[in-house]
């Protein structure tokens, strides 16, 4: 079996906020193969965006720190790379689209300009025809007009498509999509995500899909990783995790979200609230809220270990001795 395209090993990321140290990502391990879509799903503040930024080393130097771990992209450790080779990979082999297309685009350059600039930096030339065909590829109506337009002159949905064009301009092997449709209306979401699926197939691109939307992740990803308080609590094939979640957090979360056709009545809740990442409780981070908490949970952090074809980080499935931490 081929090596995974992206392999994150025991990554931890800290950053400083208001004088406190926030452990945003704690000992996270993930793998992503060529051409597949891996979803990283979790609530706001669980560290998923920090994880995405860490892969591209886009975290602010001064306030953030990577105390441990490796990020292998095509067997090269990105964390050990120098600035120049890293710059070539970013926007070239690994591309990103963010939640807010407005702040991701340079307001003083036209869309066409920004696309051509990216292509130029990564070795291609400034090719107008190629740029226009890119704009067509992301289903932008009237590509000529968009080419000449400034970001504020086009709509939100069009901006996100332009960002997508920018991202795929250099045929990346990996696309990191951080909440790409959260700021868009639901009807637009479907279009953009369908587009993304199509592009993935055509370009044989892998996608790291970061979102808090369980529904989207259930439809659009092959495999997924559930994050809570900076840790991966469950990982596996999307279909498996969604139909039979192993980790109590995943199970409780899925049960608690409202459905269209459920009968009116009380929703099963998860008591308490997500922890402050600068003061995560000892042991398993979910234990204060877990309906199935028992003795080892408060003391020992469970390791992410295989179980029934997936990986889950919970003492219910592995004895604390096996956790070895």
């Amino acid at each position: 079996m081929a090596d995974p395209l992206l392999k994150i090993e025991n990554l931890s990321v800290d950053y400083r906020r208001h004088g406190k140290r926030v452990h945003a990502v704690r000992d996270v391990s993930l793998e992503l193969n060529e051409g597949e879509t891996l979803g990283v799903v979790g609530e706001s503040g669980c560290g998923k965006s920090t994880l995405a930024m860490a892969v591209l080393r886009l975290l602010p130097d001064r306030d953030s720190r990577i105390p441990g771990g490796k990020i292998f992209f095509r067997s090269q450790d990105l964390l050990a790379l120098d600035a120049e080779p890293l710059r070539r990979i970013r926007g070239g082999q690994i591309a990103v689209i963010f939640q807010d297309p407005f702040s991701a685009l340079n307001p003083v350059l036209t869309v066409g300009d920004q696309l051509e600039e990216s292509m130029e930096v990564h070795g291609g030339g400034r090719d107008r025809a190629k740029t226009l065909s890119l704009l067509e590829r992301v289903r932008l109506p009237d590509p000529e007009r968009i080419y000449r337009a400034y970001p504020h002159q086009i709509s939100g949905g069009q901006r996100q498509r332009a960002c997508l064009a920018l991202a795929i301009a250099n045929r990346p092997a990996l696309l990191i999509a951080d909440e790409p449709t959260t700021a868009l209306d639901v009807t637009l979401q479907k279009e953009i995500l369908d587009l993304l699926d199509g592009l993935r197939r055509d370009l044989k691109m892998a996608i790291l899909f970061i979102t808090h939307n369980m529904g989207l992740v259930s439809q659009r990803t092959d495999r997924l990783a559930v994050m809570y308080a900076g840790e991966i609590v469950e990982r596996g094939k999307t279909a498996d995790v969604m139909s039979a979640p192993l980790h109590p957090y995943t199970a409780a979360l899925l049960r608690s979200l409202p459905r269209l056709h459920k009968s009116a009545g009380k929703l099963p809740i998860i008591p308490g609230q997500p922890p402050d990442l600068s003061a995560v409780p000892g042991g398993c981070p979910f234990h204060p809220r877990c309906p199935r908490v028992f003795d080892p949970c408060a003391e020992h952090i469970p390791a992410l270990l295989p179980h029934e074809g997936r990986s889950v980080s919970c003492h219910l499935y592995h004895s604390p001795v096996a956790a070895g931490r």
Partner: protein, 276 residues
């Protein structure tokens, strides 16, 4: 909430430096009568224009008065004028800004165009003209400086109010049918306090400089009362033979304005820390 602010204040070097110097100045100003060995008004013509010595730390002026005592008493004038004038500007400016920013519409337009017009007059000329008609004394100086420096604060407050007005906590307050004074003073004002406080602190330095300029021109504090400005005025005539008459009051102005600026900059960091 205040304890968090206090904590940040203690850690901020600028704010600490500024407030330390200011504390010293205030102490000197308060204890002036005790600290001086000589009466600042005492003339001694035999001792006129003496350079600094052990008996006169900062030398004597053209009438034999001890410069150190005069500079020390001048501290009182500068601090009082600076703080009270800015206090007046704060009062007028904040009220104008709150009303303009809260009501918007033609009220806002009226105030802003008025401020635009007032800002067209060079403050110094305005002040000179007014003082020329009125009697030059401390009260008039304070009032006129206050009346010519409220515009910047008003604009600042108005800008903040215009953006705060649309926030949901203001909508929630309006939905409770709270009275307008309550909306302005309990809800809006505390939220504009931080940037205004910073601007005001930085403005004290300017007020002190203006007072010194006025006294230097003979239109501010009148001798025999000591003000750094009027000591400088004497100094300019004797600059070649009595450098101490210009140096010491000049240094005093420098240190005081610097202290307020440091404090203001420090406050800005403390009250509005940059988010990551």
């Amino acid at each position: 909430m205040w304890s968090l602010t206090l904590q940040r204040f203690r850690k901020n070097k600028l704010a600490l430096a500024g407030s330390a110097i200011l504390a010293l100045l205030v102490l000197l100003a308060l204890l002036a009568p005790v600290l001086v060995a000589m009466d600042p008004l005492q003339q001694d013509v035999v001792q006129r224009l003496r350079p600094p010595s052990w008996s006169h730390w900062m030398g004597t002026d053209d009438l034999g008065r001890d410069v150190f005592s005069r500079v020390l008493f001048g501290t009182r004038i500068s601090l009082v004028v600076g703080i009270v004038a800015v206090g007046l500007a704060l009062l007028i400016g904040t009220s104008a800004g709150l009303v303009a920013g809260f009501y918007g519409g033609w009220v806002d337009t009226l105030f802003m165009r008025l401020i635009d017009v007032l800002l067209c007059f060079p403050a110094i000329f305005l002040i000179l003209m007014v003082i020329a008609f009125l009697e030059p004394n401390i009260l008039n100086v304070v009032v006129i400086i206050g009346l010519t420096s409220w515009m910047g604060l008003a604009r600042l407050v108005r800008g903040e109010c215009l953006s705060l007005r649309e926030r949901d906590f203001m909508s929630a307050a309006r939905a409770l049918h709270l009275s307008t004074p309550r909306l302005l003073f309990v809800h809006l004002l505390p939220n504009v306090a931080s940037p205004v406080l910073v601007a005001a602190t930085l403005g004290v330095g300017g007020a002190i400089l203006t007072e010194s300029a006025l006294s230097f021109l003979g239109l501010g504090v009148q001798p025999p009362t000591a003000s750094w400005g009027n000591i400088l005025a004497v100094g300019k005539d004797y600059i070649h033979i009595a450098w101490w008459l210009s140096l010491f009051p000049g240094l005093a102005i420098l240190v005081t304005v610097l202290a307020f600026n440091l404090l203001g900059e420090g406050l800005r960091d403390v009250l509005d820390p940059r988010m990551d």
